[in-house]
Amino acid sequence: MSKKRKRKLNNSQVKNNRRNSNFKENNYQKKADDYDYENAVYPDNACLTVPPEKNEEDSSKGDIVLHKIGREAVVGEYNFINVAVVFILIMIMGISFALLRNTDEYIENNNKISTETVLNGKFTKKLSKNYMKRLPGKQLLFDANRVFSYAYGLGSYNDEKGFVSADTGKIIGIKTYNEPIMVTLTTTAPPTTTQYTGKTTNTTVKISGSVFVGPPGPLTTTKKTKKTTTKKTTAKTTSVTTTTAFTGTTWSFKGTTTKSGLPDFSMTTSHTTLVEPPTSASTTTGVSNEEQQF
């Protein structure tokens, strides 16, 4: 390329650059002039109105920059609030999860930190396991989840087995609750240590739970503690825990439902119980709620 040609090109480039810069300046000025400060909104998501004292005469590039800085400051302020609140929440929960637990639990699980346990990964593995297992406030979180589930669900439903008929739209395959139901229950009594036998007592067992047709499933029973008077040398009234003695016996009984919801059985059985005599002469008056799995 000749020198003349090169010079010509350079000159035209310089001209172009100058024209571009003039155009940019004019364009900025034009944009600033056209800017409606009274009703202006910021272009990004942070759309805040411009202070009302501004008017068209004061408008300039500097104003736009100032407004932009102001907008960024406000956005930054809310960003800071958001980050601070969320991070503090995470920190509080993190610290409480880490500290609000019994240190003995770590020793119980034999999770001691040493070079060997760290290198073979046993320490971190147990740490991870213990973290979830021994999480403090677990019940609180369970309850919270239940509350949340009521907020986003339409209610609590039990897992029942059965089908909805294509013809009638009714649930079939499980018994309706207003009919008498024959349920077979199997119970295993815990081993007893005392030999003090011979008392005949009446036990009222209240059964509640889902009813399954087919093989008997695990039903939860709640047994009310009753007071039994035992004639001992101390001759005092005590509250004792009774345990059923019919190890492995299969019981069949008939019950009727009393509610439209979960079935509620009432039955009275007569059987021999082992009564544990009081260990001391003092009077025990506590009421114990014992859950027995049938």
């Binding site: 109105t49 809310y78 995470i90 990964g121 999480l135 979180l141 369970f142 919270a144 989840n145 669900g153």
Partner: protein
Amino acid sequence: MLYSDLIFIYGFLPITILITFLDRSTEYKNLILVLTSVVFFTFGRPIIICLLFLTVIFDYLFGLAAGYGRKKWLRALSFFCSIVMNSTLYIVFCWNSLFKNFGIEQLTLTKKLIPMCIAFYTIRGISYVGDVYKKRIKPEKNIFCLLVYMVNYHFMVAGPIVRYGDISDKIRRRTITGQNLNDGLNRFIIGFAKVMILGISFEKVKEAGLNFAELTPFGAWVGMLAFIGNIYFVFTGYIDMAMGLGLLNGFKYKENFLPYSVRGYVSGIVKGFNKLLIDFFEDFLVVPFKKNKSRYISGVLLSGVLIGLWYGFSQNFLIFGLYFALLVIIEKLFLKRILDKLPKIIGFIYTFFAVFVGAAIAYFSKLEDFLNWFKALFGVGTDYMWSVNMRNKTLSYLFLLIIGVFIIIPGFKNIIKSQLKAFSQKSEKNYAVIRISQTVCICLLLAMATASSVTA
């Protein structure tokens, strides 16, 4: 350790953030990132698995050879060696059960010796050397920068497949702004909530619906839809968490999901779902052969097979990959032109059923199960309309299911966003209301997801 583990969210993450902010230099941040990644990678596993990171040295050398090799065959050979090395690692670790089946006891590893998410690690090695070979990026001379890319725990759990060229400048120099922190924390928690609230809800409905002990038409339809929702929310949730972690560290990764477009059909969904993985295979197996029709078809089919096998080594994933590859080819050849002329609803119905069946192929590992499910869709072989358990599960999670469906539909999300934007633009007070509400919602989501995580 997963991102959704409480020990990660309430232990590992805050400690990492606090340590990262002790110094502003990028070198320090990179060092902390590498160290924390090693802890993340070996959590609950022997530290010996860090030997795996030695492959970074080989990838580094292959990259140099692929970039600066004078002979073409040398460059090609280095790329080939990288593919062989990383694929071998993938097969040894991800398909380890195969060795037991074939009686090769020497290569059979115990579960604790198999590092998590090795698939993403190996694909990063291949993509780096491949990009250098294809001259998309220059070979990295600083091995530490490559190490930061390779062992970064942000995309270790579920991706995305970040290419070295996308973050190489950020590895050298990055700053963490307040906006980064804000967006990162929000995105991370939204991802956590997606996994732990919506993902779990869809999973419970799926389990009830696709229970073969009581398969019903309602269960077959809703169960499979719930499976799609479950996959979507778990996957996008983890990706959101990865994106959030990246932002908290000053990185901005490419988006891995494109919004669904009615005119995109199945090709649009294939390309939009796990986009970066599809891009990776497309760049190496499809784009070079785009001009020749037969080579293009074989490239797409091969990509489909490899992607399917990458998801899981089983026949259903193989068929899954082939199925979608075939649909993409058919659409490219003629179907798209035909569908474009028809009303949008026809295209939508076609896409819906194609994806529905595709998801079922991925779900059922046995052909017999697939056929039983398919029959159940039309009530064949079932006596009942729905099971009580399915009805209860659907009703229990109905509100969340509806929210999930609206989140998946891009139009609805855009409407909400534009409405909120318009509201916040009206005044400074409105803007404040929106921002404070956002903070409250994020805190609530965090609490709900944590509670759900404990219960799950």
